[in-house]
C-alpha cells in the first residue's frame, strides 16, 4: 500500500475582488500620472509643430484660406541670404555660450564651492538676480548702457582711457558681442548654480584620496572634479544650446537685428517674416528648420558627452588592466 500523501489539489486562481479598475489600476496608474503632462505636451507642442509643418507647404497671410505651395517655401529657404546671415549669427551666439559662458560659469561654481568663501549665500543670490529679471527689461536697460554717447559703459571707458568710446550697437561685430554679453550676464548665474549642484554631488572621499596620493589643486580639478561633473556638463551644454538657438529678446530689443542684420537671429527672422510681412507659410518653414536643428544639436551634444565618458571609462579600464598585469 502506497503511503505517498496525495498533494492537495492546486488552489483555483483567485479572481481579484472588485471591478475592472481594481484589477488594472496598478498597470494603468503610471500612465494616468504622466497623462496631464502628455496631454498638454501634445496640445501645445506636438499639435502646433504638426500644424507648422503642414503650414510650411502653403502660403498664408494669417487670414483666409491656405494656398498650396508645395516645396516652394523650402526651395526659397535654400536661396535666402537673410536666412543664411541669421543662421550664422545664431551659430555665433551658440558657440559663444558653449565656449565662453559654460567654462566661466564652471569657474564661478568652483569659486562658490570654495570652503573659505564667506557670505556664499549673498554671492549665490547676487548671481541669480539677472536670471530673475525679464529679458525685455534687461535689454532695455542695456540699450542705455551701450549707447555710444550717453551710455554707462562708454562713460567708464572714456573716463579711464579717454577717446570717443566704442560704438557698441552700431558696428556689426561689437553689436554681436554686446548681444552675447547680455546673454552671458543673464544666464551665467543660473548655469553656475547647476554646476554648483553637481560639484556638491562629487564624493569628498575621491577628492581626499587624490590629495593623499599627492595630487595638487589643478590635478584634482582635471582628474576628479571635471570627470565627476560630466553628467551635469552634458545637461548644461544641451540646455544652453537649445536655449541659445531660440534667442530672440536680446537682439530684438537691443539692436532690432541690426546693424545690417548683423545680430538678427533665426527666431527674429521667423517673427519678421510671419508677423510683420504676413508670410506665415515661409515663417513656418524656417520654424521647422529650427526644430530640426535644435533636436539635432541636442542629440549631438548629448552623444558627444556619452562618447567622451565611454572613452574615459575605457582608458581607466585599460590602466587598471595594465597595472594588474605589471604586478
Amino acid at each position: 500500500m502506497s503511503t505517498t500523501a496525495l498533494a492537495p489539489p492546486a488552489a483555483a486562481p483567485r479572481r481579484a475582488r472588485g471591478g475592472w479598475w481594481r484589477r488594472h489600476q496598478r498597470r494603468l496608474a503610471p500612465y494616468l500620472f504622466v497623462a496631464p503632462f502628455f496631454v498638454l505636451f501634445c496640445a501645445f507642442f506636438v499639435g502646433p509643430l504638426l500644424f507648422a509643418a503642414w503650414l510650411s507647404l502653403h502660403d498664408w497671410s494669417g487670414f483666409g484660406a491656405l494656398q498650396w505651395a508645395g516645396t516652394d517655401n523650402y526651395r526659397r529657404m535654400l536661396h535666402d541670404p537673410e536666412l543664411g546671415h541669421a543662421i550664422g549669427n545664431t551659430l555665433f551666439y551658440v558657440l559663444a555660450v558653449v565656449v565662453v559662458l559654460v567654462p566661466v560659469a564652471l569657474l564661478l561654481a568652483v569659486g562658490l564651492d570654495h570652503p573659505r568663501l564667506r557670505a556664499r549665500h549673498a554671492f549665490r543670490t547676487a548671481f541669480l538676480v539677472p536670471t530673475a529679471i525679464s529679458a525685455v527689461v534687461a535689454a532695455v536697460f542695456f540699450v542705455m548702457v551701450f549707447d555710444t554717447n550717453y551710455g554707462l559703459l562708454n562713460g567708464v571707458i572714456k573716463g579711464l582711457f579717454g577717446g570717443n568710446g566704442v560704438d557698441w550697437l552700431g558696428e556689426p561685430w561689437t553689436a554681436k558681442l554686446s548681444v552675447a554679453g547680455v546673454v552671458f550676464w543673464r544666464w551665467a548665474g543660473l548655469v553656475a548654480l547647476l554646476f554648483l549642484a553637481g560639484l556638491q554631488d562629487i564624493s569628498r572621499e575621491q577628492v581626499d584620496a587624490a590629495r593623499v596620493d599627492g595630487a595638487k589643486g589643478r590635478q584634482v580639478f582635471w582628474h576628479v572634479t571635471l570627470p565627476g561633473l560630466r553628467p551635469v556638463t552634458v545637461f548644461v551644454v544641451a540646455i544652453c544650446v537649445i536655449g541659445t538657438i531660440q534667442i530672440f529678446e536680446e537682439p530684438f530689443i537691443l539692436t532690432s537685428g541690426g546693424p545690417a542684420g548683423a545680430t538678427r537671429s533665426v527666431v527674429q527672422l521667423i517673427y519678421n517674416d510671419g508677423f510683420i510681412q504676413g508670410q506665415f507659410g515661409y515663417a513656418a518653414t524656417i520654424a521647422v528648420l529650427l526644430v530640426v536643428a535644435t533636436f539635432t544639436g541636442t542629440i549631438v551634444a548629448m552623444a558627444a558627452g556619452r562618447l567622451r565618458g565611454r572613452a574615459r571609462a575605457a582608458r581607466a579600464r585599460a590602466a587598471v588592466a595594465s597595472a594588474k598585469a605589471a604586478r
Partner: protein, 467 residues
C-alpha cells in the same frame, strides 16, 4: 490564534478614516478635471459683445473695446468724446470705453488672431501708420469700409491724409491727427551761441553751416537721430517727405531711388558726421532722454506728440526754455516741415457694436468739434485745412513752451504742405532694409547715393519676393 494572526485581525477591524489616500487622489483628480473642463469651456465660449438692446428709440448701452499703443493721448481723447456723445440730447448710444494698451507693432498680429478666433477682438483698433501695412491684405475681410464716412469730408483733409489707410480706393482707417514734423529749439542757447532761431534759415545747408561754426565747437547739438533700423527709417521719412520724396509709389512700386531721397540722406549724414546732429540708439527712450538731460541738445526736429511723450517727461526742469519753430527747407521755397507718424481709428467688421463705433469715430474725428477737442486736449493737430484758421485753434497755448501759441506755427505749414506719406503693404520690409543702409550712410560707411541705391535695390527684391 498566533500573535501575527491576532494583529492582522485587529488591523482588519480598525475602521478606515474618512480621508484615505485613495479618496484624496480621487478628489484631487475630480477637482482637476472640473477645473480643466471649466477652463476649456470658458475658452471655447465666444464673445457675446457689449451691446444691451433696449427698446427701439431709447439709448443703447454699448461697451467699446479700444486697442491702442497710446495711453497718454488717444485714450483720454476717446473717453472724452464718448462722454460728450453719450451726454448729447437724444443720444442713440451711451458709450463705455474699455482701453487695452498694446505696443504699436503688436496690434495688427494680435487683432488678426482675435478676428480669426472671433473672440476678445477689439471693436475700435487704433493702428499706427507704420503698422497698418500689416492689415492691408486683410482689411476688406476684417475692417469696416469707412469710405463713405470719410468721403463726405474728404475735401477737407490736408493732401490725402486718408490715403495711408486705404486699400485701392476703399478707406479702412481714419487719420486722427496730422503729425507735423517741425522744430523744437531753445532760444536762450541759440542766443548764447550768436545764432538766430532755426526758422530764420532758408535752407538746411545754411543752418548746418552756421551750426557747425557756432554750436559744434561748444558741444551743442541741433538734432537727435535714432540709429536702430526702425527709428532710422521713420525719422528719415520725415525729412524725405519734406524734400518731396517717397519710399513707395501709389501703385506699390519702390520710389526710393530719387534725388529727393539723396538730398535728404546727404543732409542728415552730413549733419551727423559734422556733429550738428547726434546719433543715438533710441532718440525717444533712454538714450534720447539722457541726451536731453545733458543740456547739450538745444534743438530737435520732431513731431507734435514729441512734446507730451518725450520733452515734458524727460526734462521738466527745462520748462519755459523751449519753443516751437518751422524747419529750414531743402530748397528756398520748399516746405518748412514734414510728417512724422500717424494713427488711425478703424472699426472691426464683425464687431457687435460696429454701428455705434462708426458713429463714435465719425463724431470724434470727422467733425470740427472733435478735431479741435483733440488739439485742445492733446496738442495734436487737425487733419482739416480749414481748422488752421479757427480762432480756437490759433489761441491754444502750450504751457511747457512758455505759453507759446503753437497753432500759429503749425498754421504756416498749411501754406506749403509737404507730400503726404504713401502707404504700402511692404512697408514692414522697408523698415529693415532701408534702415540698415541709412545707418551705413550716417556713419560714413557708404555715400548717400550708394546707400539709397542699395536700399532701393534691396527693397525691390523684397517686394518682388512678397509678390
Amino acid at each position: 490564534m498566533s500573535q501575527d494572526t491576532r494583529r492582522a485581525s485587529d488591523l482588519a477591524r480598525i475602521p478606515e478614516g474618512p480621508l484615505t489616500r485613495r479618496t484624496l487622489l480621487k478628489g484631487a483628480g475630480s477637482a482637476g478635471a472640473l477645473l480643466l473642463g471649466g477652463s476649456v469651456l470658458a475658452a471655447c465660449g465666444s464673445d457675446s459683445g457689449g451691446a444691451a438692446t433696449t427698446a427701439a428709440g431709447k439709448t443703447q448701452d454699448v461697451t467699446v473695446k479700444f486697442w491702442t499703443h497710446d495711453p497718454l493721448l488717444s485714450v483720454p481723447f476717446v473717453k472724452q468724446e464718448a462722454k460728450r456723445l453719450s451726454a448729447a440730447a437724444n443720444a442713440p448710444y451711451r458709450y463705455k470705453i474699455v482701453p487695452t494698451i498694446i505696443p504699436a507693432d503688436q496690434i495688427p498680429p494680435k487683432a488678426r488672431a482675435a478676428f480669426l478666433a472671433k473672440t476678445n477682438a477689439p471693436d475700435l483698433p487704433a493702428f499706427e501708420i507704420g503698422a497698418f501695412c500689416q492689415m492691408m491684405g486683410i482689411a476688406d475681410q476684417t475692417l469696416v469700409d469707412l469710405t463713405d464716412a470719410v468721403g463726405a469730408v474728404r475735401g477737407e483733409n490736408i493732401d490725402k491724409l486718408w490715403q495711408p489707410y486705404a486699400v485701392g480706393d476703399r478707406v479702412y482707417g481714419v487719420e486722427t491727427s496730422t503729425s507735423w514734423f517741425a522744430g523744437y529749439f531753445r532760444p536762450d542757447e541759440f542766443k548764447k551761441l550768436g545764432l538766430p532761431a532755426p526758422d530764420t534759415f532758408g535752407t538746411w545747408d545754411e543752418l548746418l553751416a552756421a551750426a557747425e561754426r557756432a554750436a559744434v565747437p561748444k558741444g551743442k547739438v541741433l538734432g537727435l537721430i535714432g540709429t536702430n533700423s526702425i527709428l532710422a527709417t521713420r525719422i528719415f521719412m520725415g525729412f524725405l517727405q519734406q524734400a518731396g520724396g517717397q519710399i513707395f509709389n501709389p501703385d506699390g512700386s519702390v520710389a526710393l531711388k530719387s534725388q529727393a531721397a539723396v538730398d535728404a540722406l546727404t543732409m542728415v549724414s552730413k549733419a551727423i558726421q559734422s556733429g550738428v546732429f547726434q546719433a543715438v540708439e533710441d532718440s525717444f527712450a533712454g538714450p534720447g532722454a539722457a541726451a536731453l538731460k545733458s543740456g547739450n541738445v538745444i534743438a530737435n526736429p520732431a513731431a507734435d506728440w514729441y512734446l507730451q511723450y518725450v520733452l515734458q517727461p524727460s526734462v521738466p526742469d527745462q520748462r519755459n526754455q523751449w519753443q516751437l519753430g518751422l524747419l529750414p527747407g531743402f530748397t528756398a521755397d520748399g516746405p518748412r516741415g514734414g510728417y512724422f507718424g500717424g494713427l488711425c481709428f478703424s472699426v472691426a467688421k464683425d464687431s457687435p457694436v460696429a454701428d455705434a463705433t462708426v458713429e463714435l469715430v465719425k463724431a470724434s474725428i470727422l467733425t470740427k468739434q472733435g478735431q479741435l477737442d483733440n488739439f485742445k486736449l492733446n496738442n495734436l493737430n487737425p487733419t482739416w485745412k480749414s481748422l488752421y484758421q479757427e480762432p480756437d485753434y490759433l489761441a491754444k497755448t502750450a504751457p511747457f513752451l512758455g505759453g507759446q501759441r503753437v497753432g500759429e506755427v503749425y498754421a504756416k505749414l498749411i501754406e506749403n504742405v509737404p507730400s503726404a506719406p504713401i502707404q504700402s503693404a511692404d512697408f514692414g520690409a522697408a523698415i529693415t532694409v532701408v534702415g540698415d543702409e541709412l545707418v551705413a550712410a550716417y556713419k560714413g560707411r557708404k555715400s548717400p547715393q550708394a546707400a539709397i541705391s542699395a536700399a532701393s535695390s534691396a527693397l525691390e527684391a523684397k517686394v518682388k519676393e512678397a509678390q
